[in-house]
């Protein structure tokens, strides 16, 4: 079976003080090739944990992740990662960062040069090839991270709040870029975000998770990502159903937060 299957995953962290945290409980879902799924949920509901398990950085206490027919046991180049920030290599310039994956495979510049330069152009970094990472703005750094991931040609791209640290305007431009790259490359993408708008705009599928224990609360299939491709993201916000979906999800997350607060009050 092709695609990415998350099968009955549970994750429990045993803390040094003897207690334990049930970060995920019985999470199952399947992504077909080329799907973009955004994941929303109140903070602490296990989104990052789920992504780390899919990436292979964490082994779940129960269940498994199956990718194109084989079980995930560790990180691999088939599953690329884009972090919120701080994951670029400051000791390399932009082009060296982007070509890191191919170079680690032992490829010569003749093999990766064209592709890397193309990606740099697509992400608008063409003029900054030789710049040092610390000379770039936050938005440009995230474009480097995106290009670096794509240059390695993974089957699945995992993004943990990749745009979370950017200002609103930069963020909007980057959302357009993510959509464009997704359509052009046909990659399977899981994108974690804490912005409801971003999740609706980018997610072909949208997963809302609930906390304590972390679990899937509800899943949506949305038309807005396809509308947004190549178009105006702001116009999409006036499309039919957008406002209703947004209100519904906001309400849902609001209630979850209320519930958490209530439970904390009770514990006191």
């Amino acid at each position: 079976m092709t695609g990415l299957s998350i099968e009955n995953i549970s994750m429990r962290f045993d803390l040094p003080n003897g207690t334990s945290v049930q970060a995920l409980k019985d999470v199952s879902l399947h992504l077909n090739e080329g799907e973009l799924m955004s994941v929303l949920g109140p903070s602490g509901c296990g989104k990052t944990t789920l992504l780390n398990i899919v990436a292979g950085f964490l082994a779940p206490t129960e269940g498994q992740v199956v990718m194109n027919g084989h079980t995930v046991t560790g990180p691999d180049a088939e599953r690329g990662m884009v972090f919120q920030q701080g994951a670029l290599f400051e000791w390399m310039n932009v082009r060296e960062n982007v070509s890191f994956g191919p170079r680690m495979k032992g490829q010569k510049e003749a093999e990766w040069g064209d592709n890397v330069d193309h990606l740099l152009d697509v992400t608008g970094l063409g003029d900054f090839k030789d710049k040092a990472i610390y000379e770039l703005s936050g938005g440009m750094q995230q474009r480097v991270a995106l290009a670096r991931c794509l240059a390695n040609d993974p089957d699945v791209i995992l993004m943990d709040e990749p745009l979370g640290a950017l200002d609103a305007l930069t963020r909007e431009k980057m959302q357009g870029l993510v959509l464009k790259l997704w359509k052009e490359t046909g990659k399977t993408i899981i994108l974690i975000t804490h912005s409801v708008e971003e999740a609706i705009l980018l997610g072909e599928r949208l997963l809302v998770m609930a906390p304590r224990p972390g679990r899937i609360h509800k899943e949506y299939r949305l038309p807005f990502a396809d509308m947004g491709v190549g178009g105006d993201l702001r116009a999409v916000k006036h499309a039919d159903g957008y406002a209703e979906t947004r209100e519904e999800i906001l309400e849902m997350i609001w209630n979850m937060e209320e519930e958490i607060m209530g439970r904390m009050e009770e514990q006191k």
């Binding site: 990436a55 994951a87 994956g101 610390y134 390695n152």
Partner: protein
Amino acid sequence: MIGFAILLVYIAIFAGSFLIVRFLVKKATRDFTSLKTVTFGDESAVTSNRTASVVSVLTIFLIWGSFTGSAWVPGFLHAPGPFVGETSFTYTLETADGERDDATVFVRVVDFGEEVEKFEVDPGEGIARNDAVAMPASRSTTILFDKNDEATRKDGARVVAIDGTPIAPGDEVKTDAGRFTLTDKGAISFAPPAGLQMEPIWLPPPEAVVARMVEIASEGYRDSTLWQHLGYSLFRVIAGFFFGALLGIPLGYAMGLSNWFRGWFEPIVEFMRPVPPLALIPLVIIWFGIGETGKIILLFLASLWIMAIAARAGVSGVNISKVHAAYSLGASKLQIMRYVIMPNSLPEIFTGARVAMGVCWGTVVAAELVAASEGAGMMIMVASKFQLTDIVLMGIILIGVIGFGIDILMRKAENYLVPWKGRS
């Protein structure tokens, strides 16, 4: 007394130059900081005032020159010097029978470094006879006035007045000539005004230090030229640091990457870290003697722990996202080591290297003070035994300058090799 005077002068120059510079250069600068209204408490608005630095260094030389009577400092800026030249006083002798007679003591006070030569005067008439005394400046001397007197202290005669002022054993009498006391045995102790200047044997003037430096640079001291002495010290530091880094950095990496290595070496490193390298000098001398091997091993030990701890901190300081990203991009463990862990630890390693170089430089000088046949420390140690204060001072200044130079070079290398430090 002199120390207090120097402190006062120093504070006066500090405050005075501040007011002068403030008054003169007040509106001269127009940068962004000068537009800030809140500067007190804003550390970024505090920069090192270049004028203050220059005045500070000049002040040190000024005070040094002024209180040593340096030829480089104009005479009117000199602190009052000691009395030099001829002076005299009279003492009144009373014999056991109650007879009294006056006699004059002629004193010739010669300047620092000049020969003290005896001279004769006309002894005059009476029970008490005139005396001649030669003495160096800024000292006190005991005058055995009765060597030529008809009635001596053995006969029961004693001094009852100096220049007409009554005096008894234990009393102190001050006149224009200087300060007088009587010793327990009744001799006159005389000290002419000492002034506020330092004797060269305590603190030579700057030109003497420079002259000595020129001399030692060309003729050498203790069978080695100045450059050889400094070269030996530098060589030991570089060799010791090199081996320390060569072993310490891999050790630190291993401790940052493997449980077993960390468990094995942690007790050793944590134990050795607080042991000052100076405390190892005796053991190193017992084991390896005072030759090069011992010194280099000492400096090796001094830098080993610092470099190991720095390298370990460099590994643990890596943002886990970087390592995860590299794994997801298909890097192997070896490649993670080479392309992520090692470059990421460079800033910490440089910080460690700067500390280690400083410690090594201090340790080598100390080790040479204890035992060596050449080196900067040995030079000042031997010179101090012969009270050659100018060589000691010169040595201290050169040691400071070289230590400072090493740190600047390390910082330059750091800026060149680790330009991203503190900017991500």
